[in-house]
Symmetry: C2
Subunit: 370 residues, 2 copies
C-alpha cells in the first residue's frame, strides 16, 4: 500500500506522548509543552528524543511527515540529520514564537527572523530532495504581526510550505479575537500576513466558519485533521465531511503529543470514530467517513495538503515509490484472518486492528528504509 | 498489575471483528451477526474461531471474560473446553433467541429452555471453579416473555449470573416500547422476568433513564460500558460519570465485534475519549474519566459487575492472583520510555500506547497461563 502521510506531528513532543492529557489546550501548553520544548536547547536531549520519534513513526509506516520541532535551530538541524539518515520524506519546521510565550521559551522578533532564515538556507543548501524546511509560526497568539508578515514574505521568497495551528479550541478562538481586533476572523490573521497559500497546512480547524473555509478553498490552504488530539485534549470534533463537501484539501495528523498515538493507523480509526459521533446529531442522510475515505485522507489527502501529490500519496504512474509491504498473517501479529475474509475484510482488519508488526517493509522514493 | 476483566464480549463474533461496521445495530444484526452466528452449528468452524478468540484476548491480558457464544449448545461447550484449557476465568453463555429471529437462526421456546438447562447442568458438573455458565437472553426483543421468565427462574434455581443487552440504540429502545406496551420502560421488561439481580450485567445502557438506573442500583444490576462498540456502530455515548454518580456498578467491555478491538486497553482508551467528548457539552466542573478511573473500571469495576470482587479485580489480601507482568521496555515494543518519565507517566504510556507485546506473563488464580 502507499506510505502513510502524517500532516501534523510535533517531533519534540514525542517525549511525553501518552501522558499529560488532563488539561485543555492553553493550560496544557503552559504546563507541559513549553517547559518540555525548552529542554531542546540541550542537543543531547534533543537527539535522544528525535531519534526515538523518527524511528517510531517510520516503523509505523509514516513515509512522509510534516514536523514541528522547537524554536532552537541547532536541535532542529539535528532533527533534519536524523530524518535524512532514516531516509524519510519530511517537512521540518523551526518553530517561531516572539509573543505570549514564557520568559524561558521565547525569541525576540529579530532573533526569530534571523534564526529562521539561517535554518531555511542551511536546509536548502543540503539539496536533499526528500527534506524541505517549512515555515512554522506556532499559532497566531505566539507571533507578533511583524514576525508573521516576515514569515509570509520568507515563504514566498524561498517558495516554501507553511504550517501552523488554527481554531483548535473555543478558548483559543476567543483569545485570537481579543488579540487581533482588526481581523475579520482567525483565518484572516494569517491571511493578512500572506500565510494562507496553496502550500499551507493548518492543523485542527475544528471551529472554522464557512467564510473561513471558503478562504481556505480560494487560497488552496489545506487542513490537517487530528482527531485523537481533539478528543484527548477535549478540544472538540472537526466535521471532516463538511470540509470535504466544501472542497477544502484535507489530510490526517497524529498531532503527537496532543494526540497520544504516533501511528497514522490510529488517526484513520479515530477519524472514523469522530465522524461517527458527529453523525449522531445529523440528519439521516449524513454519511460519516468510511474506512476507505479515512485511508484516502491518510495517504492521497495528506499528499495534496502538503503539495506533494505529484510525488506521493498513491501509486499513480510518474510518482515516486513511497510504499509499505503489509502482511496481516505475520506470526505473533495483532490480526487474525479467517477463511471467510474477503480482500476488503483483510484490508479493514489491517486498518482497524493492525500495527507496526504487520508493516514488514517501508520504502521512500524507491529506497527500502526499513 | 491486576488482570483485565472484559465484562462483555461475543466470542462468536471474533471472526469478523474489525469489519462490517457501516450499519446501525438492528441492520447490523440482520445482515452480519445472525448469518455468521448461524455457522456455529458447524463445530469445526466454531472451534477455529473460539481457539483464536480466546488466545487473542488472553494474550491481551484479559484474565476474566464474560462471553456470549451462540444458540448452539455443542459449540458453546466447545468454547468452555477451550477456555478451560487456556486457564482463563470466564462466564460463558449459550444465547437464547425464540422471537424476532431469522428462520435459520432461532429456537422454539421449548428447545431454548431445554437446551439451556442441559448446558447449565453440564458446565456445573465440570466443577471448574474458574468457569460458570451465565444465563444469556440475547436482548428483550429476541425472547418471548415466557422464555425470559423461565430464564429468570433458572438463574435463581442454580444461583447463576445473567447477561444481556439494554438501551444500546434509540431505534432499539423504540422497538422495545412497541413490543412490550405493558412495561414501564426497557429495564422493566427484564425486571418483570426477575432478570435484574445482583449477578446481572447489562451491556451498553446508553439511553437508560434515571428511573431505570435507580432500578439497577436497587437490584444490584451492573452495566458493561462498551465505548468502542458504541462509536463504531454509531449507537451513542454512555455517560460513565452519570452512572458512577448514581452508584450503579460499572465495568468495561470490548463488545467484540460491535467494538472492533479485542483488547481491554482499547476499552480503557476509548472510555476516556468518549467521556472527553461528553464533557464538551457539560458545565465546566464536569469531570471526564481519568485514565486512573478507566483502569479501575477495567479491573475492579469489572469484578464488581460480575460479582467476582471477592476473587479478582485487584491485589487485596484474600483474593486469587489474576495478574499481568507488564514490561514497557520490551525490545521492539510499542512504547518509548525516557529518563524524565515518572512511574505514573510509564503507567499512562502503557495504558495509552502499550499492547500485548508489553504483557510478558499472564496469571489466573495463581497459575501462569501465558
Amino acid at each position: 500500500m502507499p506510505g502513510l502521510i502524517d500532516t501534523h506531528i510535533h517531533a519534540s513532543q514525542y517525549v511525553y506522548t501518552g501522558t499529560a492529557m488532563e488539561l485543555h489546550l492553553l493550560d496544557w501548553l503552559k504546563n507541559y509543552t513549553y517547559p518540555i520544548e525548552a529542554n531542546f536547547e540541550d542537543l543531547k536531549f534533543a537527539e535522544d528524543v528525535y531519534q526515538k520519534a523518527v524511528k517510531r513513526v517510520l516503523k509505523n509506516g509514516t513515509t512522509t511527515a510534516c514536523y514541528f520541532a522547537t524554536i532552537h535551530v541547532d536541535a532542529t538541524l539535528k532533527l533534519c540529520d536524523i530524518v535524512e539518515n532514516a531516509g524519510q520524506r519530511a517537512y521540518i519546521g523551526k518553530v517561531n514564537m516572539d509573543a505570549y510565550s514564557p520568559h524561558y521559551y521565547v525569541e525576540t522578533t529579530q532573533e526569530s527572523k534571523e534564526e529562521t532564515e539561517k535554518f531555511v538556507t542551511k536546509i536548502l543548501k543540503k539539496n536533499n530532495p526528500l527534506i524541505k524546511p517549512v515555515i512554522t509560526p506556532r499559532f497566531a497568539p505566539n507571533c507578533t504581526l511583524e514576525l508573521s508578515k516576515y514569515l509570509g514574505h520568507l515563504a514566498k521568497q524561498y517558495d516554501l510550505p507553511i504550517q501552523s495551528h488554527i481554531s483548535e479550541t473555543t478558548d483559543e478562538v476567543e483569545w485570537v479575537k481579543e488579540l487581533f481586533p482588526g481581523s475579520k476572523h482567525y483565518a484572516d490573521v494569517y491571511d493578512q500576513c500572506n500565510l494562507l497559500t496553496d502550500k499551507t497546512v493548518m492543523a485542527h480547524g475544528v471551529y472554522l466558519s464557512d467564510e473561513e473555509l471558503k478562504l481556505f478553498k480560494s487560497t488552496g490552504t489545506g487542513i490537517s485533521h487530528c482527531p485523537n488530539s481533539n478528543l484527548s485534549l477535549r478540544s472538540g470534533m472537526m466535521d471532516a465531511r463538511r470540509v470535504l463537501d466544501m472542497g477544502v484539501k484535507l489530510g490526517l495528523g497524529t498531532d503527537v503529543s496532543g494526540g497520544y498515538h504516533p501511528s497514522m493507523l490510529d488517526a484513520i480509526r479515530t477519524a472514523v470514530q469522530v465522524s461517527n459521533v458527529i453523525s449522531l446529531d445529523m440528519h439521516t442522510d449524513y454519511k460519516s467517513l468510511s474506512h476507505r475515505e479515512a485511508f484516502k485522507l491518510a495517504t492521497l489527502g495528506g499528499s495534496e495538503v502538503l503539495g506533494l501529490s505529484d510525488k506521493t500519496g498513491n501509486f499513480e504512474v510518474g510518482k515516486e515509490f513511497d510504499a509499505l509491504l503489509v502482511d496481516t498473517t505475520v506470526v505473533e501479529g495483532p490480526v487474525d484472518i479467517f477463511k471467510r475474509d474477503s480482500t476488503d475484510d483483510i484490508i479493514q482488519k489491517f486498518l482497524f486492528l493492525g500495527d507496526d508488526r504487520n508493516i514488514q517493509e517501508v520504502y521512500v522514493a524507491g529506497k527500502q528504509v526499513l
